[in-house]
């Protein structure tokens, strides 16, 4: 496997996503073990000036496609650019963040490169130079270790699982222009419409304050929003509260929602049913607040408080304000 490792360094606006740095860091680690080079691929609008930043995470070369028509993910345009880059550089491994963009893009590339994708991996290892990817299936009820028999081996990496780390000394990557002749497409990408003021997606958040059926109604999520704001986190929800129409599906954590792995997950009024558990079990630290001492969530939370969320959560917000020096 002498080909380089090609990493799709995803950007949003003109900024790289955190998941891009995570993927470039993991790519560097593998490249060192395999004694190959690491190339990063950047696609977007106004991204060219940021390309050298990827040298900090270990990229030897950055291939850039910078065009106003690439500001938002366009499946045909991105696929064509990535495919051209892959054909030109002949990589052994392609790493792609498992974001909404990456999950759309990776399988399309695989079809045109006659290869397969290991989706949403949480660990990559080498076994005699052969890559073994670990990926959760059944929403994390099991972990599958697998090898891809064909090359290039395409892997998507679950965000927030791999750690972004700067290399020392930083590399000074060469910058290459990608082919930007865009294909004809029947798809027209019109615009990005935001859900509201939320800055971070649940999958990218370091702190999540999540509410379940115990919140009693949509109006009560205000207290979770206050706690999340003080801590710099975002609000999540259980399936019960989404199905009740209290919260949008984009807030749902669990098997038919988001799978998250924040540093801190605070579960408020959530019982901890299996389909919720599998979506948040890989959080670094779990705190549960529930009035039912028998709730299953206490069986896997690191810290629990037995009590009424309407008393405990506001008290926690006050205490966190003191802690963060905001009061």
């Amino acid at each position: 496997m002498a080909g380089p490792i090609l990493v799709f360094a995803e950007s949003t606006g003109s900024e790289f996503r955190k998941a891009a740095f995570e993927a470039v860091t993991e790519g560097r680690r593998l490249a060192d073990l395999l004694r190959v080079e690491e190339y990063a691929l950047v696609i977007g609008s106004g991204v060219k000036g940021h390309a050298p930043e990827l040298g900090k995470y270990g990229a030897d070369k950055v291939i850039v496609a910078d065009d106003p028509s690439l500001a938002l993910f366009h499946p045909d345009y991105y696929r064509k650019i990535a495919l051209d880059a892959a054909k030109k550089t002949n990589p052994g491994i392609i790493l792609i963040p498992a974001t909404s963009t990456g999950k759309d893009l990776a399988p399309r590339l695989a079809i045109h490169l006659n290869t397969a994708v290991a989706s949403e991996c949480t660990q990559l290892e080498l076994d005699n130079g052969e890559m073994v990817a670990t990926r959760p299936a059944y929403a994390g009820k099991v972990l599958i270790k697998l090898k891809i028999k064909t090359s290039p081996k395409i892997v998507t990496l679950r965000p927030n699982v791999f750690t972004a780390k700067e290399v020392s000394p930083a590399r000074n990557p060469t910058i290459d222009q990608a082919l930007t002749e865009l294909p004809n497409s029947r798809m027209v990408v019109k615009e990005f419409v935001t859900h509201g003021a939320k800055k971070l997606d649940l999958t990218e958040a370091g702190i999540i304050v999540s509410g379940g059926r115990g919140m009693g109604g949509p109006e009560n999520y205000r207290i979770l929003g206050e706690l999340a704001e003080v801590m710099g986190g975002v609000v999540g929800a259980s399936r019960a509260s989404v199905d009740a129409g209290w919260r949008p599906h984009s807030d749902q954590v669990g098997q038919t929602g988001r799978t998250v792995s924040p540093t801190l997950y605070i579960a408020c009024g959530i019982s901890g049913a299996i389909q919720h558990r599998v979506g948040m079990i890989n959080s670094k630290v779990i705190v549960a607040i529930n009035k039912d001492p028998e709730a299953p969530i206490f069986g896997f939370a690191d810290y629990g408080i037995v009590g009424d969320v309407f008393e405990v959560v506001p008290a926690l917000t006050r205490e966190m304000k003191k802690f963060y020096g905001k009061s």
Partner: protein
């Protein structure tokens, strides 16, 4: 409007998943199977499109003989007919699934091709886009809303922090997210009527898998932690522990 929805049976999300004795697969012997939830949202979308514009909803499923109850359920939920691509191999490679579906879909004329964004069993999130690439048609993934008029579709795909609006001419493929629709319940009468709807069964040979499973394991157990205390008075200690012991704040 000619609508095709690809559906598949999966273990119920509440099912306990047991690893088979070979350590390389999952034992589904006594598991209850359902329609993959994301495909149920897609099917509901397809049925609503037919109710609005007329036409026909065909479901296509790739799976074992035992898929019949799932097929009958999908027919009861409003599909007009079914094509069952029968294959008894265990499928661990989405590209093998995509090739088998695309081979069949090449011989079917459709305007709208619907998928779920992923199966809740293997969580791969790959098949819809792969089939569309094989057929050379547009595909908008993870959609939460679909509007169709005059042969043009406007789809909203859910992304981090919002949605991206994509327009495409038809025929086109779409993969459904949870917010797309609220599936209906099938009445007893519809369940009975489903038995009279046509099901075409074809045996298919799938291409060999490009993936090799090394092992299937349970994730390491999470050890229960401690109850810090009761009520609001436990809060200061919790904050102290999060800071000093867990070091997460």
């Amino acid at each position: 409007m000619r609508i095709v929805v690809c559906v598949r049976r999966v273990p119920d999300t509440a099912a306990r998943i047991k690893i088979a004795p070979d350590g390389k697969s999952v034992d589904t012997f006594d598991v209850e199977f359902v329609i993959n939830p994301y495909e149920e949202y897609a099917l509901e979308e397809g049925v609503q499109l037919r109710e609005k514009y007329g036409g026909e909803v065909t479901i296509v499923t790739l799976g074992p003989e035992k898929s019949t109850p799932m097929i009958l359920k999908a027919l009861a939920l409003g599909a007009d007919k079914a094509i069952h691509l029968k294959s008894d191999n265990f499928l661990n490679d989405p590209s093998a699934t995509a090739h088998a579906l695309a081979d069949e879909l090449r011989s079917i004329e459709f305007d709208v091709l619907l998928f779920g964004k992923k199966g809740v069993d293997d969580d791969n999130h790959q098949v819809g886009q792969m089939v569309a690439e094989l057929l050379g048609i547009p595909c908008v993934t993870q959609i939460v809303k679909l509007e169709i008029s005059n042969g043009m579709a406007t789809a909203y795909r859910e992304v981090e922090g919002g949605a991206i609006v994509v327009e495409t001419s038809l025929p086109a493929a779409f993969t459904g997210e949870k917010d797309l629709t609220v599936p209906r319940y099938a009445s007893l009468r519809e369940l009975v009527a489903a038995r009279k709807k046509p099901i075409v069964v074809k045996n298919v040979q799938q291409q060999p898998s490009l993936l090799e499973v090394v092992s299937v394991q349970y994730p390491p157990p999470r050890t229960p932690g401690k109850i810090v205390g009761k009520g609001a008075e436990a809060v200061p200690l919790l904050v102290k522990l999060l800071h000093e012991e867990a070091k997460v704040i």
